[in-house]
């Protein structure tokens, strides 16, 4: 069986995000970029499924500008077998990405798709669910455990108050939560090997997908800052302030 893993190139999670002074967007010039951390977890899970002898092939897919090849090479270095870039210079929103992935899945026929639950740039948390809907397949979102069986997959999901395990009929889409696994680091030999693995490029037009944006974004701004920083000397002063100044305790 094939496992397909979408990967997104995003701002590195350690970088302090700055809004452009005219509020037209976030300044991404000369900023360190990386694979979305949740997608790294997805790649790791797919590679582990292959290493367990269950999957035969792991395919990484990225949608975006030519530079997204970097993210695909990272996925290949982590153990994916081959990669597909859907190249587009216009802004791709989650619904468009889900449609592109659906078109790729129609061709590749994966048994399992593992997506990161959200990208740390737009924080949308949508693509996996939308891909599942477009494929008319079940979804196991926010997974902390994935167990493949005969024609089924059991996904333990992080929900309010604890965990919920669902059994889905394959093919299915899973989205990863933070604690599904701890991704490995790419070793130098694997980074070198990844350069020789196949990377195919296609386009929204070739896949017959309309990717025109439906949402427009404007007025990017930093949220108002809290005016904190006051210190109290001891517990007695803290309780007095909470009672008499903040009035949040009786």
């Amino acid at each position: 069986m094939k496992v397909l893993v979408p990967v997104k190139r995003v701002i590195d999670y350690n970088v302090k995000v700055r809004v452009k002074s005219d509020g037209s967007g976030v300044d991404l010039a000369n900023v360190k970029m990386a694979v979305n951390p949740f997608d790294e977890i997805a790649v790791e899970e797919a590679v582990r499924i292959k290493e367990a002898g269950i999957a035969t092939e792991v395919i990484a897919v990225s949608c975006g500008a030519a530079v997204c090849q970097e993210s695909l090479r990272t996925a290949l270095a982590l153990g994916a077998d081959r990669a597909i870039l859907v190249e587009s210079d216009i802004e791709l929103q989650p619904l468009a990405v889900a449609k592109l992935l659906k078109a790729v899945c129609d061709k590749e026929q994966p048994t399992l798709v593992i997506c990161g639950k959200q990208a740390i740039d737009d924080d949308a948390n949508q693509t996996g669910q939308m891909l599942a809907a477009l494929m008319n397949r079940p979804q196991g979102t926010f997974a902390s455990k994935v167990v493949l069986g005969d024609g089924k997959v059991q996904v333990t999901r992080e929900v309010d108050g604890g965990l919920e395990t669902v059994e889905l009929t394959l093919p299915a889409v899973v989205t990863t939560d933070l604690r599904l696994n701890e991704p490995r680091y790419a070793t130098l030999p694997n980074i070198m090997k990844a350069k020789k693995k196949p990377l195919e490029t296609t386009s929204p037009a070739a896949l017959g997908v309309d990717v025109a944006p439906r949402l427009s974004h404007s007025r990017f701004a930093e949220p108002p800052k809290r005016s904190g920083g006051k210190k109290v000397a001891d517990v007695a002063e803290l309780v007095a302030k909470l009672r008499n100044e903040a009035k949040v305790i009786a």
């Binding site: 995000v17 976030v26 929103q93 989650p94 619904l95 889900a98 740390i120 740039d121 924080d123 949308a124 948390n125 949508q126 669910q129 939308m130 599942a132 809907a133 397949r137 079940p138 196991g140 979102t141 926010f142 902390s144 059991q154 992080e158 929900v159 309010d160 108050g161 604890g162 965990l163 919920e164 395990t165 669902v166 059994e167 009929t169 299915a172 939560d177 933070l178 604690r179 439906r214 949402l215 427009s216 974004h217 404007s218 007025r219 990017f220 701004a221 930093e222 949220p223 809290r226 904190g228 920083g229 006051k230 210190k231 001891d234 517990v235 803290l238 909470l242 903040a246 949040v248 305790i249």
Partner: protein
């Protein structure tokens, strides 16, 4: 314009977030309807009918809606969607699981976790772990939204909407719940609590986490939370995590104990009304956002605080 709020419930009671979603619905459009889909869920429907601002409750009962699975619910919603200008749900795991699936089924680009409504097609939402707010305008005829509950007041009780049964759709039978490990707690639900007491890496162990924080939480009637570092270290369960990738909270009082204040964590609690930080490091970032910072050893300060509060 009519807005449909999808209610999360346990078949008896509405979950936190529904009342806030009703408020957001009122800001977005005209009349507000609430869908309660489940099995033997008339008590939940009655609770929805009592929410102020709700004009009608749609009750849809079938065993395949009992677990709140996205596959069957999204299919049902797709049949109801043409009658509405907006469909929205609270941005809980339930809503986040369901609404994008609905969006794709009806070819609408959903908008996640809105924190403000500026017009029928115009919303504000946080991106980049809450470090940036952006205005989003939709060109779709129908809007599919999730709502950050802490950004909207809860609709009060006192309404008396009519309840109308709607027919169930077929069971797609592609997904079923086979297990649940839900911890029953006497404490308030984290995202709805008036007071939250959170512990971080400074707690040192899971044993300390409970031994030190529980008496304080008991005294304050608080929910317990944790930083990502504390959850990763196994001090507290996953669903205690407060932060951009965990729970977003905005209680009246947030007490951060042994938490350094990583951006990820601050994104989940910085809208709290009053923040107290107890941390031995005077330079910890948490002190910069705290209204009251106490620099000291938490193992002395927290028991002393409990005593001072008369616990």
């Amino acid at each position: 314009m009519t807005v449909l709020v999808i209610a999360e419930h346990d078949n008896n009671e509405l979950k936190p977030g529904v009342a806030q979603a009703v408020t957001a619905a009122g800001l977005a459009g005209g009349e507000t309807h609430v869908l309660v889909a489940g099995a033997n869920c008339s008590a939940a429907a009655a609770a929805a009918a009592r929410l102020q601002g709700v004009a009608r409750v749609l009750l849809c009962e079938a065993t395949h809606y009992a677990d709140g699975g996205a596959e069957n619910l999204a299919a049902l919603l797709a049949t109801l969607a043409p009658g509405y200008s907006h469909l929205l749900a609270a941005a809980t795991p339930f809503g986040k699981n369901l609404m994008p699936r609905l969006g794709a089924l009806i070819d609408v680009a959903p908008i996640s976790e809105i924190v403000a409504v500026e017009g029928p097609s115009s919303f504000v939402r946080p991106i980049y772990a809450g470090n940036v707010l952006v205005k989003v305008d939709s060109t779709d005829a129908i809007k599919v939204l999730t709502v950050r509950a802490t950004a909207f007041a809860a609709a009060g009780d006192g309404g008396a909407a009519g309840i109308e049964a709607v027919p169930a759709g077929p069971d797609l039978a592609v997904s079923r719940v086979i297990g649940r490990e839900i911890v029953k707690s006497e404490r308030p639900e984290l995202t709805a609590a008036r007071v939250v007491v959170s512990g971080g890496r400074g707690m040192g162990s899971g044993e300390n986490y409970h031994k030190v924080l529980e008496p304080l939480a008991d005294r304050l009637g608080a929910a317990l939370g944790a930083s990502r570092a504390a959850v990763d270290a196994g001090f507290a369960p996953n669903d205690y995590q407060v932060g951009q990738t965990g729970k977003i909270v905005a209680p009246e009082l947030y007490v951060a104990v042994g938490i350094s204040g990583a951006i990820q964590h601050l994104a989940g609690m910085k809208d709290s009304k009053v923040i107290v930080a107890i941390n031995k490091d005077p330079d910890a970032p948490i002190h910069q956002v705290a209204d009251y910072g106490l620099v000291g050893d938490l193992f002395e300060a927290v028991p002393a605080l409990v005593k001072e509060l008369g616990g």
